[in-house]
Symmetry: C2
Subunit: 574 residues, 2 copies
């Protein structure tokens, strides 16, 4: 491809509305443009990268025995009503009406459609297991689309679905897909981790996310220092401390805290170290004798953070978790948030495992402007339940039993689930089993954020000059930059000759034939992240040489013109 | 691929709701399934064919210098408002609101989005010409989706757009795209024709459609018997008859026609041959002195059909054309449709060229239940305008000047337009010209109905047993059918060996390893239209032979096992 016949669309300035580096670089390198909030046009060089991701994903899916098909973006509402998700899904599910006023949704995922398809097409256990996938445009009407294609409203996803007679069979396919996902990210040249994950709104029991590690990642991942244990922080268990709770050594006392509403205030104004106090969070749950929605107190050590997903798993806590309104708290307790605590509290109390081993600690006195010191469990608070409520923190013991936890940031680019029978049961998707009886199928589902991978790869591979593509993802394999083409015949002649020789050798070359200053051309090629740039200049030609620049390593190499094509082709293909 | 691990999904019965053969065969061969009206899931074998079409289209677009990109399906309303099409487009434009109640449309076409993109990215004439394309999911909310993927609501299209400084440059690119389209349909092995077409709601001046010829086609195409002239019947000019109009030989007389409301009635009840009478159609147009919407009469020979697009081109006729309501006709004329005619009619009269050379003809007397005979132009009707108003019919002289016209049916699978400045002007898309002044760009647009091609190819290539794919489109290149696999070790051993040898040779094989009767397997392979089937049976193995069946020709060939892979690979690749 010649730049003169291409649409390079590079930008010198960083667009002001792009917060993260991948979004900035995708705009600057001319890979994407915003059409509207969360809607992006893929320019030619961006699309080439997207297609490379798609192709690797496809190859690994086929290798894993999955079969490609293609379902519509527009899905009839009745299937979503059947699964129950028409009600459960929030406004991210973009609902539309057709010209006859019939309700449809633009698919963010296809569990309903595929389950409907399989229940109609597959009738016997002999046709199982079956894994189907598609690479397709998905729609999710995000409340706040951001970070470019990282969290867009229209995006490309690979979604696969597997169908089985037994849990064991599902577990086998799940393992094969897990391996296929590792292969995909390996081949793409990304630093990634599979991590234990929550199943969230998709449902099911076992689940792993695949994260590309990057500081800008929205997710925190906990790793063991001594094993390959890794989990989304949402899901990583905070083990109960092994040390016993100290015996009480202080009396229960109140002290006035008129200005202290937070753990930070307590520290600043009263010298209470955060890990010596607890925070008390009031949420809805635990219906009272009249089946009225009641309140529940969650107690955490002052320096720990609530993990909502963990709290939701407690039978007394409503799911989704909802913080109690201040008026409801005041009506029940007679005090406001900032002065709450477990002593004398007339509602179920759930105490985090780490808070449960504290002694002589500080908490609100359930009276505005007053706190207790010297609180001790059992002595001062008779009834409470101990539960894992908090996010793990760096240094916590690893739940796998080996080493301690480290926390890193990651970008979720894949997610696989052992769904079980959530959808097949709701939609009555069964087959004739070996015993001749109808048997509900067991399902798995497996997603890759194809367009998001492009952004995640850039988050992990960039420098001050632009993108540093892993070879498998680069939009072009080689750039040819002739310097001052118009000043001699020799340079354009050799550039043209090399361009056609590389093209004949099957190398995907971007030939910068613009009448631009060399600096402009180099900057564009670096910004776009082409892995190798072949520079053709007068001085080197005097020695019958050309220069090869390696974008990732920065290395420069002089090559004899006659050996350039063979040597560079070998380097690129090797 | 092994059928045991595939989802073949063939059907024995023809689904009752499928009217045309391609729809029936796509369902029966397990290529598609209906999700909802006009929404289809592509099964694995269907998707493979779709992808083959996509790939050929892509290769020819790239060869023609077009550059691939990808725009969103969801488009903001404001761009459509800018072009004026938000108002012009009917309910086929599926309009939606996002969660913030902002209006969007699901794109049936992307003129607005691409024009907006180019006006922002391209600033100088030096960057022109530029041709961009995408292969993408499109949405058109058809009032009556039918014929499966032939007229679906969600479908795959290739749409390309070119941008130019001058009409001449546009004409050159248009010619190159015309050639690329010919290459595409040639490579796909289809019997097709490029035909002169109307520009319709897309706009512009010059336009060609590409039709796959098939009796089930919704369009009629007129061909010259002596040249390569071909036009959509909508667009084919009906030349003025060369013979002079005979002199009047009869008196004007009325006769009672109480029961005759149509040309057919006149023939049956009064012996008036259709070509000796005229029909008078009253439409809206021609405002009167008070700028009120008036009426206009269109006069055609009794055996000819009105061409609405031609009538709309007359300055006195409203566009879109609308037939006058009976009450408006009665108020103006004092008679009802069925008894109308040109004599004494007080409104503009437009006469089709063929009707204008009639003499002594019959028409309504503008009095219910009465007709005139012996009508003659000029003598009996003083003022009238002669215009091309009718569809051509077989035997008409070709507008190219050579031969006469034949009419065939076609399926429109491509449409190219010289748009001119319709969108660029409305959206102010200009570049700096050589003279340093802003200049509005000139545009072309070029569409291929990718998913429709799959159906059109089947309409043209089928028999009683199923689909007969042209080689370029077949979902598999070869089927291996071992007969009675379970009865001996020899058959599965050889089948497995050949399957891996063909696969190693790069042939896309469907290996039917099901425990089915041979007849079931043959029927499925024929239905699916695999071009070659290799049959492995006991008797032939005794002679160390296998049998190759050619789906298109029906030929059978015996091959020595050891030579089978080389011979068949050569035949498929040749």
């Amino acid at each position: 491809m010649r730049t003169s016949q291409y649409i390079l669309a590079t930008l010198k300035e960083t667009p002001s509305d792009a917060e993260i580096i991948s979004h900035q670089l995708m705009l600057r390198a001319g890979m994407i443009r915003k059409l509207a909030s969360g809607l992006y046009t893929w320019l030619p060089s961006g699309l080439k990268v997207l297609r490379k991701v798609e192709q690797v994903v496809r190859e690994e899916m086929n290798k894993a025995g999955a079969i490609e098909m293609l379902m519509p973006v527009i899905q009839p509402a009745d299937l979503w009503q059947e699964s129950g998700r028409w009600e459960q899904f929030g406004p991210e599910l973009l609902r539309i009406n057709d010209r006859h006023n019939r309700p449809f949704a633009l698919g963010p995922t296809h569990e309903e459609v595929i389950t409907d398809f399989v229940r109609k097409e597959i009738s016997s256990y002999k046709q199982l297991p079956l894994t189907l996938y598609q690479v397709q445009t998905k729609v999710r009407d995000e409340v706040r689309p951001r970070f470019g294609v990282m969290r867009a409203r229209e995006f490309t996803m690979k979604d696969a679905y597997s169908f089985h007679l037994t849990e064991e069979c599902l577990a086998q396919t799940y393992q094969r897909m897990h391996q296929a996902y590792c292969n995909i990210f390996e081949r793409l040249g990304l630093d990634y981790r599979p991590v234990i994950a929550d199943t969230g709104s998709i449902g099911g029991s076992v689940s792993h996310e695949f994260h590309v590690l990057a500081e800008s990642g929205e997710d925190a991942i906990a790793f063991s220092t001594e094993s390959d244990y890794a989990a989304n922080i949402e899901k990583a268990e905070a083990l109960a401390p092994t040390e016993a709770r100290p015996e009480p050594s202080k009396e229960l006392n109140t002290f006035a805290t008129p200005e202290a509403k937070t753990i930070a205030d307590l520290k600043a104004q009263h010298g209470v170290k955060p890990h010596r106090g607890v925070k008390t969070l009031i949420v809805y749950g635990a219906p009272d004798e009249n089946e009225q929605r009641g309140l529940v107190a969650l107690i955490l050590r002052g320096d720990h953070e609530l993990n909502e997903l963990k709290a939701e798993k407690h039978p007394l806590v409503d799911s989704p978790l909802e913080m109690a309104k201040e008026e409801d708290i005041f009506a029940a307790i007679g005090a406001r948030p900032g002065s709450l605590g477990p002593v004398g509290l007339k509602m179920p109390i759930i105490v985090d495992r780490s808070a449960a081993v504290m002694a002589d600690f500080v908490a609100g006195a359930n009276k505005d402007g007053e706190h207790y010191s010297g609180i001790n469990w059992d002595r001062d608070v008779a009834e409470y339940d101990v539960f894992d409520l908090r996010n793990v923190v760096e240094g916590d013991p690893s739940p796998c039993g080996k080493g301690t936890l480290q926390i890193k940031r990651g970008i979720e680019v894949g997610h696989i689930f052992q769904l079980g029978t959530k959808y097949s049961e709701a939609m009555n998707a069964g087959v004739l089993g070996e015993n001749g009886k109808n048997q509900i199928m067991t399902m798995g589902c497996y997603g890759v954020g194809v367009s998001r991978i492009v952004a995640a790869a850039i988050e992990q591979n960039n420098d001050d000059y632009g993108i540093k593509w892993p070879t498998a993802l680069a939009p072009f394999e080689l750039a040819i930059v002739p310097m001052n083409m118009h000043k001699s015949h020799r340079i354009p002649d050799i550039a043209e000759r090399l361009y056609s020789e590389f093209t004949a050798a099957g190398i995907d070359v971007l030939f910068d034939d613009r009448k631009e200053r060399p600096g402009v051309m180099f900057n564009d090629m670096e910004l776009l992240g082409v892995p190798f740039t072949l520079v053709i200049g007068e001085r080197n030609l005097d020695n019958n040489q050309v220069e090869l620049k390696n974008r990732r390593t920065g290395e420069k190499l002089m090559l004899d013109i006659d050996q350039a094509v063979a040597a560079i082709t070998a380097q690129i293909r090797g």
